[in-house]
């Protein structure tokens, strides 16, 4: 892109040069507005992260929006049960692009300690694409801030053109995903096969 040394020199003189893409990413990464959406235990740590001690406002992400139509980021904070999963997918579908998902805590990633339960969805990535996973039960508020920084870094790396450009500027990529329905014993379907590709598991026992 631009010559880094020349740019630094100019910055010393008070002249900032940037590209369209960088400006766009800079604006997006510093105003990630999360959806005000808590599911379980991790939501309390999410609230704690937005309170005085950890102060998520330092990252421009304190504007928790009650409506999915105004939100950029969905923090899936807590256990997603099978009864709640259709609503979570619906909320995701209602969010405008560009949108990101952070799966906060063990339960949101894989069902966590509750994966043995009959009503617990074993990972929200079965139905919606997840950008960042934070393990922990619950993760500390610092871990959420850390994940937010990782997401900012990811946004920074986005390009406006080329094959690697992000989903929201690719007309062929879907921005909405099918909503599962309640079946007689389980959700129907129990995963989105187009989205969920688990790694192969080798059992040695």
């Amino acid at each position: 892109m631009t010559d880094e040394i020349a740019r630094k020199e100019l910055e010393k003189q008070g002249v900032v040069i940037t590209s369209m893409g960088e400006l766009y990413n800079w604006g997006r990464k510093n105003s990630i507005w999360p959806l005000q959406f808590g599911l379980a235990c991790c939501a309390i740590e999410m609230i704690a992260a937005s309170m005085a001690r950890f102060d998520i406002a330092r990252f421009g992400a304190e504007v928790f929006r009650p409506s999915p139509r105004q939100a950029d980021l969905m923090i899936v904070a807590g256990t997603v049960t099978k009864k709640m999963a259709p609503q979570v997918v619906r909320l995701y579908n209602q969010m405008p692009e560009p949108k990101y998902v952070i799966a906060m805590g063990a339960c949101a990633i894989s069902g966590g300690p509750f994966k043995q339960g009959y009503n617990v969805l074993k990972g929200i990535d079965r139905f919606i694409p997840v950008d960042i996973f934070i393990p922990g039960c619950p993760p500390r508020p610092e871990a959420l801030l850390d994940a937010l920084m990782a997401l900012q870094k990811k946004i920074e790396g986005d390009t406006l053109r080329g094959a690697n450009r992000p989903r929201h500027i690719r007309p062929d990529a879907p921005s909405e995903f099918p909503i599962p329905e309640f079946g007689e014993h389980d959700l129907v379907p129990d995963k989105n096969p187009a989205l969920f590709h688990p790694a192969a598991v080798l059992l040695e026992k």
Binding site: Q36, F37, G38, L39, A40, C41, A43, I44, E45, I47, A48, M51, A52, R53, P66, G78, T79, T81, K83, M84, Q87, L91, P113, F114, Q116, G117, Y118, N119, V120, C137, P138, R140
Partner: protein, 407 residues
């Protein structure tokens, strides 16, 4: 209600200033469902699903509300959005493995959940926690009550439209207590601290002094909180006379905890069951008179002051000694066939565990008696006749945590 063993005491006057009674008591018990709801679909009535994703439902809770204009004529709560199968998982696992799961029931107050469960198993097995362990349990239990009530008030005010400020003050205090919990048990929220017949580890050096300092500084926060809120006319208008719960209904519907006492029934398990070492401490049970949202708010503030008094006494008199019953067994516990029901006064009400053993290493039946769920039985009765905006406040004053409602 008459004749409790020890007559409960209401504070003569709330600590700060006059209380404004602006609104007339305009609600009464209106029966389960208003007749007008039968007329659906009527062009006048509007059916609204409040939740499961709603900023003021404290989690994933849903209320199907039927409205006549702004007035609620029917309200049916819908549960199960956080049904995590605690009971089934506990029945598959060992007795010890159930303790960390109880942390996640009422995920704000993990310590009291631990306590109720280990107390039930102690009833089942006959383990006797030593003196020091009982003191530690009382101390962490009352600390839990402190920040639960502070956060509840913060959330309630958030529902009333005081965005941020009271909640932020409450969380600032909560962080101090969580620091204590972390240095004690290793985790901020999910402490996993109590064990059958005692507690997992002893207090670290200097912990008592730190706790004393937190307890000494807490009244200043309470005074600040009350100066900010209790006299506030907006709060008074929005909470007085709203969501009135009568004594008779409260008792019949099994309402417990601060909500029951706000309706004027002096039933606190710390006094009634005299479990653990509570009889040694001198404290009073605040009682409400009107059973409305304001009384429920006020009861919590007064209870925090009483908890502080218990804490002061306990921190001053904690003895040295062992922290676990030497007979107690943690791993591979197999109680004799039988059953036990243990209950404690958790911050939200009576938290009970019912454990049936058939002599095998895992409980045959593991049941949690959730105060939050049963307190919601009367939600419709409290909301009928009020406006939709009040529903949110009434729900906030019940103090629910969805992890416990749905389990």
């Amino acid at each position: 209600m008459t004749a409790l063993a020890e007559p409960p005491v209401m504070h003569e006057a709330p600590p700060s200033g006059t209380i404004w009674r602006l609104a007339e008591d305009r609600s009464s018990f209106a029966g389960p469902t208003d007749d007008r709801a039968g007329g659906l679909p009527d062009h006048d009535l509007l059916e609204v699903a409040l939740g499961p994703h709603h900023p003021s439902t404290h989690g994933v809770f849903r209320m199907d509300v039927v409205l006549d204009g702004e007035e609620v004529v029917r309200l049916k709560p819908v549960f199960g959005y956080l049904h995590r199968n605690h009971e089934k998982i506990a029945e598959k696992n060992s007795y010890l493995a159930a303790i960390p799961y109880t942390d996640r029931l009422d995920y704000i107050c993990s310590m009291t959940n631990n306590w109720a469960y280990v107390m039930t198993v102690e009833k089942l097995t006959g383990f006797q926690p030593p003196e020091r362990a009982e003191y530690i349990r009382v101390i962490v239990g009352e600390l839990t009550r402190l920040f639960n009530h502070a956060c509840l008030v913060g959330f309630l005010l958030q529902d009333m439209g005081a965005l941020g400020t009271p909640l932020m003050y409450a969380f600032r205090e909560r962080e101090k207590i969580l620091d204590l919990f972390e240095s004690l048990s290793g985790a901020r929220m999910m402490c996993n601290y109590m064990r059958f017949g005692g507690v997992r580890c002893d207090l670290p050096d200097g912990w008592i002094e730190e706790a004393k300092q937190v307890v000494a500084e807490f009244p200043r926060f309470l005074d600040e909180f009350e100066a900010l809120l209790t006299g506030n006319e907006i709060l008074l208008v929005r909470s007085q006379g709203i969501g009135v719960l009568s004594k008779e209904l409260a008792v019949n519907a099994g309402v417990t905890g601060p909500m029951l006492r706000a309706s004027g029934v002096g039933y606190d398990l710390r006094k009634v069951d005299k479990y653990s070492i509570y009889p040694r401490f001198n404290f009073r049970i605040p009682l409400g008179q009107h059973g409305d949202v304001f009384d429920r708010y006020m009861i919590r503030l007064l209870e925090m002051r009483e908890s502080l008094s218990i804490l002061k006494q306990a921190l001053d008199t904690i003895p040295a000694g062992p922290i676990v019953d030497p007979k107690a067994k943690q791993r591979g516990l197999r109680p004799k066939a039988g059953e036990a029901y243990g209950r404690i006064e958790a911050p939200k009400g009576e938290l009970g565990f019912y454990v049936v053993s058939d002599g095998s290493p895992n409980p045959y039946r593991f049941r949690i008696r959730p105060p939050s769920l049963i307190n919601l039985t009367v939600l419709e009765d409290m909301c009928l006749g009020h406006t939709i905006a009040d529903v949110v406040i009434i729900l906030g004053s019940v103090d629910i945590v969805l992890g416990e409602v749905d389990r």
